[in-house]
Amino acid sequence: MIGNFPYIAAIIFIGLGIYTLMFKKNLIKIAIGVVLIQNGVNLFLITLGYIKGAVAPIYTYAPSGQIMVLPTPQALTLTSIVIGIATTALILSIAMMIYKHYGTLDTDQVRRLRG
């Protein structure tokens, strides 16, 4: 039961990120909400590879006869973190452009395209 704790933490992260996206009014807080969801999904991915009592999957360094943790989720998580960096950088720079033209970061004011 205690081994399921990382999964529960990942779901809590995703839940907090969704709450921030749905209810917070500042554009920077919305960017933080997206980052929270990214962190939750990355944590979920890396926890999938855990095997009880196994060592780190370094091929040339492990003692013989030892089971290794699954290495594929580690590759998936690294790729996802890099994609997260690009996404976060783009969202923040576009928020800067919006501030330059609109003068505000409130989502109730940044609504010229509607209808």
Partner: protein, 521 residues
Amino acid sequence: MNLSNHIPILIIAIPLLAAFLVPLIGRINKKATGILTTLALSVSLILTIILAVKILTVGPQVYVFGAQSPALTLPSGLKFPIRIMFQIDAMGIFMGLITAVVSFSGAVYSLTFMEQHSGLDKYYSLLLLLTVGMFSMEFTGDIFNFFVFLEVASIAAVALISFRGVDLGEPAEAGFKYMVVSSISALMVLFAVGIFYGQYDLLNFAAIASVVKYSQLDKIALGLLVPVLAMKAGAVPMHMWTPDAYSEAPAPISMILVAASQASLYALFRVTFSLYNITLNTLAVGWIIIIFGLLSMFIGVTMAIIQKDIKRLMAYHAISQTGYMFLGVGVGLAVLANPVALSQYGITAMEGGIFHIMNHAMYKGLLFLTAGALFFRTGTKDLNKMGGLAHSMKYTTIFFIIGAAAIAGLPPFNGFASKLLIYESVYRFNPLLSIIAMVVSILTLASFVKVFHSAFLGPKLPQFREVKEVPKSMVWAMAILSCIIIFFGLFPDLIVKNLVHPAVMALIEQFKYTGTVLGGI
């Protein structure tokens, strides 16, 4: 080295190489960036046509990355594939042809449309990256690879939507909304990838399809993937990013974004047909997709009639036409477990839906390009300010008439052929759906008559006295799409028999999809 074995990777590699060469060449000569982009995309178009001929005559193709030969899917002794691979069957190459034609026309149109802007090397580089992302989404056979290229295409698309945001505020707002919404959907796709990996220890579409058991976790993955991929395609009620993003992007980018949304629609069909097939409850999931289709059709077109901005109106029509595709393929999915109904009207409904994808990309692309031509010459997108432009812009008027007649479903253009297939087969499933589809078609015609009257008819207004016809490259790009529309309209049976029917059978027959990779067809 037999080069014809490596065509799938060359289609991706040549635009990718050009995307990184364009900023270097942009330092020497500004005009050379556009010419290099057009050359790279024309090579991709030719290679896609060669690959299409090969796949439709020989069979599905697999390209494995990093193996000793590109067709070696199962390395020695293993029973499941471990490398990333491209798996291209008839449905994948159908979408690949759409992407190739649309991006090539977009590049040709951009040669003169974007001439006065600065930062053109970044624009062409991002256009090539968006094309690479779309091609790989349609060709890949690996589910994590699909996530990576979904994000590549989204990031490139956001940067292109906000391209004019240096001077104006609205493109930046549209880009922000699209990026947030797109991040939510991509992360939900990654969560579903994690669920598949945690259960089966496999990341390959065909390998998962052969062992999927539809346990409770698989139901969660399906329940995450269907609404999120439908949202990227523009289904109501999650469609509100579509008018913002399509209207603020430059006109050729709006056309390529339409093809990017259809790539997400293709991924939805891949997941429900080839990954799960009849292990899921096809009637329930089929009805979910049909409800998406009905809502999209009706709300899309009723919101379109009241718009004042010409590109927002066309974006609402893109939502409405996507509803037709959901309707056609949803009916096909709902009767997938029932072989009698499938052969009577299910296959025809799916043919209508999938043929409509190609028709829609062509005529919606043409309409966005004519809207761009109007914006280029008059400087405004507001229909209240335009009028009487048919006197001076004759070519644009003719192309607009062809595009508007095609989208309204008037014979002899291609919209009528695919809509007829959808009407006649959906009627046999449930008559009410077909009647709503016909009412939506009439309202589509009504709103395009409104656009034609406001922008083109009427007397010549004094403020548009020195408006001339648009430059040559824009006319050529619109002419390519018009010729395809007229050809598909006059000879629809050639396209349906040779391109659409193999694509539909490739979706329905899951055993051929898994057999290509795991061997033993």
